[in-house]
Symmetry: C2
């Protein structure tokens, strides 16, 4: 049996499973951001004509899934496994989406790292012959997330500068063995890290420790340096979390500097008042599909480390005085010219 | 590359990954049930001396994980992957447990099917060399679940006869390649099925359709009949859901009858007033570890199909008038003499 491991936390995918296609659907605010033109669908109404934001989120994820399946010239019945999740209690967006798709479904929860959880497992399932094609998807919605985690948006609560803006968006990819590019070569599964921080309006700082740890572990496991990657793209630390991650890595003698980019910072520009940047499981999922995958496919980036970061708290754990444990998972993705 | 599939939804694990050990921790009520003597640890206090039921649940899961790791003569650092989850919002029991264990962690959510989600993926990761040893764990707690899904237990709300009693318990297994028994030979990933039912006090009926569908699919994919299994053990349909499942399978010309057993019915006896039976992610996880795995190891059962069933609703989706989508996943487990 082939050994698909290197170091203590990293999987190697010897068959180079392919990111065959991606699709993204976002809300109106996201469509006005710096990469707004790149998303496949920009909705002009965050409710998508539905009766609730929750239904809107499920519909957005479903549209992304339907679109990406069509792009690979498949029917849902050709997809052997759907790995997905969202930020909502009991993953209702992903569950309702999976009901409509009728593809064998495993629900994942890693907060904003969910898409990378799906990629890490999905690449393994394709690479080892458990599935010919795996659908990976994640979503988030500003209004569903705010009322669940913080305050209903109707309250118009003042948001502190450390806060991030939960993205209304969904992204979905199909992984298969078609042999093209981009290809996933490694996956690093993170450990849960808790720095004792407790502020639900600052997710970036506690997630930074998890991001730094997983980036460090990935480089250590693979014997690579940051220079082996055109970019290390996190999702989503925001500006504060990004700065803390760079500083933490510097203390471990790893210099990333401008090479560390963040999906949350690509999604919005300063004048959009998103404060520390975008966040939510749909943020890095949509940025991957709309922005990073095309860059990799056309050689604008040759190799990236894509790092999903998640804050694993709940309103209940916060109200009970618990700190915020965080996790980060990474996949190495190679594009044209790598 | 080996093809690890058969039929449309079933994985085959050619290396026969081993359930190397299991461990279970339950609350006082569960300890008084028909298999109460078999659990490794029975707590005399559902709070476990903690300040909240949520902390108690996380501690219970952690104790089960610590115990099973020790039983395989390993340290947490020898375990390459932890797959786990629970019923709580944002999986806080599993997340806090993963923080303490410091094992690379992927959070799963499949309601009461979570343990089988973990086994399906965990067996694949071990069988294909991504991990030498995978820890799979799931938990539930009566009081955390009731207040999250229905009413706080302090309300002493009247429970209808269709309701199930969420088990206070946790189970954890280590899957490795030690080559012993019990061994996992197949995994069938379910599709999300929705019969349009909406009663959060009757999970058994909607889950029955998912259970019947996955059992049917597994038998179809593998070319097996119910007679190939000593038992098809669901977790957790309760008495009502079990009856409906038997009837649905009968309509598909599959006769299971007494061969269909349910973990929720093994956990409590009638006089314990659990109504339709036990439920919760910790129920089938603890029954697997305490009751089924020893039976398989010592030849009392030669081969079982272990079917986890989950109701994928949330209080929000219920209040918004949505029906209850359900899922079931299955693993075939072989014991001595199989």
């Amino acid at each position: 049996m082939a050994q698909h491991r290197v170091g203590s936390q990293t999987f190697t995918y010897s068959g180079r499973p392919t990111l065959a296609a991606g699709a993204s659907v976002v809300g109106p605010r996201e469509g006005k951001g710096p990469i707004g033109q790149k998303f496949d669908v920009v909705k002009d109404d965050a409710l998508l004509g539905e009766k609730s934001w929750e239904r809107a989120e499920a519909k957005m994820l479903q549209e992304a899934c339907d679109l990406v399946i069509t792009r690979t010239n498949r029917q849902p019945s050709d997809i052997h496994l759907f790995l997905g999740g969202d930020l909502l209690n009991q993953l209702i967006a992903a569950n309702f989406c999976a009901r409509e798709l009728s593809i064998p479904f495993i629900g994942l929860y890693g907060a904003c790292s969910t898409m990378v959880e799906a990629l890490v497992i999905g690449a393994a399932m394709v690479d080892s012959g458990y599935a010919d094609a795996v659908l990976c998807g994640a979503s988030s919605h500003h209004d569903t997330a705010e009322r669940q985690y913080r305050f209903p948006t109707e309250f118009a609560t003042q948001r502190p500068p450390t806060s991030q803006w939960t993205v209304t968006g969904a992204g979905a990819v199909v992984i298969d063995r078609s042999g093209g590019l981009p290809a996933i070569t490694h996956g690093t599964v993170g450990r849960v890290i808790d720095m004792g921080m407790q502020d639900p309006n600052d997710m970036g700082s506690p997630m930074a420790a998890a991001a730094a740890e997983t980036i460090w572990q990935h480089l250590s496991d693979t014997g690579r340096s940051p220079a082996d990657y055109d970019a290390i793209v996190t999702g989503d630390l925001g500006s504060l979390g990004r700065s803390v991650t760079i500083e933490l890595l510097k203390r471990a003698n790893i210099s990333v500097g401008d090479r560390l980019e963040d999906c949350g910072l690509m999604m919005f520009e300063d004048k959009q008042d998103a404060h520390s940047g975008g966040s939510g499981g749909g943020c890095c999922a949509a940025v991957l599909c709309a922005h990073l995958m095309p860059q990799l496919a056309f050689g604008q980036r040759k190799r990236i480390l894509f790092v999903g970061t998640g804050a694993l708290f709940s309103p209940t754990s916060h109200q009970q005085g618990e700190s915020i444990p965080c996790v980060a998972h990474a996949v190495a993705i190679e594009g044209m010219g790598s």
